[in-house]
Assembly symmetry: C2
DNA sequence: TAGATTGTTAATCGATTAACAATC
DNA sequence: TAGATTGTTAATCGATTAACAATC
């Protein structure tokens, strides 16, 4: 296996990785909280658009589909902001969550210009979230120079170049399984430290690289499991009843 | 909000939903285990292709990118199979995991024939996992009858029909945000009880419906967070050093 | 003040993992 | 037998959530 070090297993990022700053202040936003912050953000944008300036934990909880205690606990990790008896200031909260999540724009490179890569390059949510796709890379020479979603496709041999030239900070792997490990190695070599992997395979990265995996088929398989136990238990119930 | 009942929050399915069969035997495969079973399966297929007939928990752990204790614990939930001092029989394990996950083929309907919907309809992993896309539905009348990935597009008004006719058990929502809740309501009305939602919005479903959410932008945002804390701490270190 | 809502505590729960007796 | 590996136990850890004092 190339790459060595920690492996991707589709689970949550390394525990104990909550980074502690040199000044001693820590940024231990729990992984579970982190995953909900963008959801809160969408809810807040929604109410802000309606001109609402204050939300209670209860209201935000309803928007996000969680319970109010969780919202308060989550927000307490950003530092406390709400007014007791009143709620949270929408604009302030938006700014604070935005700041915690990184705020600024982070350009993205997509490797793999197949169906999934193309779809992701057109995905509104990425640009809306501050993640413009500034480069698309593929191993197919016939695609070189072709425009996809307003971005010119670069050959994988020139990946380093294009990553540096465009200032990419995040890489998305949307290649077939057999190419994924090599692509990840190249992305790491090019200096990327944050990679999102859509290839359904376990790839290795050095410990300093954050790798997350989105496993589309596995999601369906889990649903299939519940469908299975449901139909099995219905069949048994019929037999019993 | 339409639909009522439990809401989707992108987190793990309802705890306490481990279904207990009428005969008293329970099927409480933990959620975390469930998410790893397909990963084990891929590793097992790989070694089976090499003609290997036995694997240890250690070997399977390496293939899946987890540790051996987790593998043994996970497999113990399916009932014990391994031989002490030897390991697990590959074929038997494949059959057992396959059985636990539902085994048989479950046809899928995709709602939304935009970029993401089209990409998903061509996604190899779905068919390989036993989830053939047998129907694609869209609200755009001009797409009606058009073929995508060998499947004819149906108008959303005829969704019920096509779900029944094709025997779909799983629904995938790949619509814009504004359409998602209505689509989910229609899928539920058409009899589906398992839905995978790609629209970045909280939708409501009745408690008997399993809903999972795949939030593509959120994954990037979490990576963006780590990128942010990394660069911040590097900046502080430079300032300090 | 009285009502509402926060921020925090503490109990609880599920998941992880090292360790080891059982056993092939 | 001796070495290897399982299956299970128990400690630990992080996440969830009800409850409530603090306070707007």
């Amino acid at each position: 296996m190339a790459g060595g070090g920690r492996t991707s297993d589709g689970d949550l990022p390394v525990p104990g990785m909550g980074i502690v700053r040199p000044d001693g202040s820590s940024s231990p936003i729990p992984e579970a909280t982190l995953a909900r912050l963008p959801v809160y953000m969408r809810g807040l944008v929604e109410v802000a658009d309606e001109g609402i300036t204050t939300v209670s934990s209860r209201q935000l909880a309803d928007l996000a589909g969680v319970n109010a205690a969780k919202v308060r606990k989550d927000l307490s990790h950003l530092g406390a902001h709400g007014k007791r008896g009143v709620g949270y200031d929408v604009d302030r909260l938006l700014a604070e969550i935005g700041g915690a999540l990184g705020g600024s724009v982070k350009p993205v490179v997509i490797v793999g210009a197949g169906n999934l890569g193309r779809a992701l390059s057109r995905y509104d949510g990425f640009i809306a979230g501050g993640f413009p796709v500034v480069a698309i890379v593929d191993s197919d020479r016939s695609l070189e120079g072709q425009e996809i979603s307003g971005v010119s496709v670069t050959h994988v041999d020139r990946m380093d170049e294009v990553v540096v030239a465009t200032g990419c900070r995040l890489g998305i792997v949307a290649t077939p399984v057999h190419a994924a490990q090599e692509v990840v190695d190249r992305l790491v070599a090019a200096g990327l430290r944050s990679i999102l992997n859509f290839a359904p395979v376990v790839v290795s990265v050095p410990p300093e690289v954050q790798l997350r995996k989105v496993d589309l088929a596995t999601e369906l398989q889990i649903l299939g499991y519940y469908e299975h136990v449901r139909t099995s238990s219905e069949a048994s119930e019929q037999a019993a009843g």
